[in-house]
């Protein structure tokens, strides 16, 4: 199955229509989610009044922060084992986007935390810390790739680091879990179904799916740019060789 996707030509044909489709659906879903979240749903005074509306960005960003790191690690793994170039291009493209969504998660969390918990930042909050370290993992990954002198070396070093990071994520998560958390417990994914009122749940799910699609669309665009970049380099080299 990986090999089917490993063909750059097939990827270019697929992403040519899939990326715009992702963008269109993302605009619709995020738009509907934000409209519902910012104007339609009643505010929840227990969560700080109107400020709780930031949830419709904060929670999707947190999901994306975790999912994108795992996606990067899986892509690195696929590249490391099967050496499919498209997987490496995907991992490389996911990193800056993942860092941005992680930063959005941290920023919106701070903005939400100040009026409700009275603090921008709490050092012993488990989830803040694990997202912060995820952010550093992304930065380290990008810095390492940037400092390698060839594309192949960047891919190998990045893949090793992403995989080492991925097996450490559960341990980091477990260690910071010893801290108490200001965060409420998960209220969407629980054993007996969502505990959240449906009026909040649907816009949140729409927003989450929208962010995921936006992420997928942007990843494909970055991957396409990288593939064009490589083709250009190849064409240039050919021109040079022919004189």
């Amino acid at each position: 199955m990986f090999s089917w996707f490993a063909n750059p030509l097939r990827f270019m044909r697929l992403s040519n229509w899939l990326a715009p489709l992702c963008y269109a659906l993302a605009v619709l879903l995020i738009g509907w989610g934000l409209w519902q979240g910012l104007w339609m749903v009643p505010k929840d005074d227990y969560q700080g009044g109107d400020i709780m509306r930031v949830m419709f960005i904060h929670v999707p960003a947190a999901w994306l922060a975790m999912a994108s790191y795992m996606a990067m690690a899986v892509m690195s793994f696929i590249w490391f084992i099967w050496r499919h170039e498209v997987a490496d291009i995907a991992a490389k493209s996911i990193a800056p986007l993942g860092a941005v969504w992680t930063a959005i998660c941290l920023a919106t969390g701070s903005i939400w935390g100040k009026p409700t918990w009275g603090t921008w930042w709490q050092w012993d909050d488990a989830r803040m810390m694990s997202v912060l370290f995820m952010f550093f993992l992304f930065l380290g990954y990008m810095a390492l790739r940037a400092s390698m002198d060839t594309r192949q070396k960047a891919a190998r070093a990045g893949a090793i680091l992403a995989m080492v990071g991925a097996i450490n994520v559960p341990l980091i998560k477990f260690s910071v879990d010893l801290f108490t958390s200001l965060h409420q417990d998960s209220s969407v994914l629980t054993a007996d179904g969502p505990k959240m009122a449906a009026v909040y749940l649907w816009p949140l799910l729409a927003s989450g799916l929208g962010h995921t699609l936006l992420f997928a669309g942007l990843t494909q665009t970055l991957m396409r740019a990288e593939i064009w970049d490589r083709r250009t380099a190849q064409a240039n080299a050919k021109l040079m060789a022919e004189g």
């Binding site: 400092s147 090793i160 260690s175």
Partner: protein
């Protein structure tokens, strides 16, 4: 598996750590210097110092491990020693593990042995707790050295790799730092924290050599 290349890597790393001016005293100087800066920075109130002392020593230990690890594999890629070791057929993970362990022995363990003295300067009560803490510093330091070694191996071919090592290793140091600091408090969870610290060190010992090996094979290409 022939042990000769592994032993030679171990001996070479020990020599490397001892050579060069002040030898093993250099990391000690860095460790003490970093720790002594703290009272100057945050004030000399004995109550505060007693509270932050163990944590400061963890930070100083992490920093000095990063500083000493910067050149651990870089010199070997430059003078070709790495290529020779990889050609002997000895497992690269064993060579990397032996080198890192030697550096911990020469630079990390002395820091742990010095820690009771620094703890006293941070107004800790003189008791057997200081010796117990020294053992915990030694244990946690081992994890720092192995994760830092992964960063060092990945940036072995990078000039000015020291800054990169810090950025790469920082998230990997987290569990050790948390369990380590927790094991020196008397709050909830401090009873089992030394066991978790030991577990995180064992995890580093089990995983890091293979990551270092993959990174070294990359550096040798």
């Amino acid at each position: 598996m022939r042990p000769a290349p592994i032993l030679s890597a171990f001996r070479q790393a020990l020599g490397e750590a001892w050579a060069g001016g002040a030898g093993a005293l250099l990391p000690l100087g860095f460790f003490a210097g970093a720790a002594v800066l703290v009272p100057l920075g945050i004030g000399t109130d004995p109550q505060t110092l007693r509270a932050v002392g163990p944590g400061i020593l963890w930070v100083a230990l992490a920093l000095s491990s990063l500083v000493t690890l910067e050149r651990i594999f870089q010199a070997d890629t430059e003078d070709g020693a790495l290529d020779l070791w990889l050609q002997t057929g000895a497992p690269a993970s064993a060579i990397a593990g032996a080198k890192t362990f030697a550096h911990w022995l020469a630079a990390g363990l002395p820091l742990a042995l010095l820690s009771p003295l620094l703890a006293l300067m941070f107004q800790a009560e003189a008791s057997t707790d200081l010796l117990r803490n020294a053992a915990l510093y030694a244990l946690g330091g081992l994890a720092f050295y192995f994760w830092g070694g992964v960063g060092a191996a990945l940036s072995a071919t990078v000039r000015r790799g020291g800054l990169l090592i810090s950025l790469i290793a920082l998230p990997l140091y987290v569990p050790t730092a948390i369990f380590g600091a927790l094991s020196m408090t008397h709050g909830p969870g401090s009873e089992s924290a030394p066991l978790f610290l030991a577990a995180s060190t064992l995890f580093a010992l089990a995983v890091a050599p293979f990551a270092m090996a993959a990174a070294l094979r990359l550096a040798a290409d």
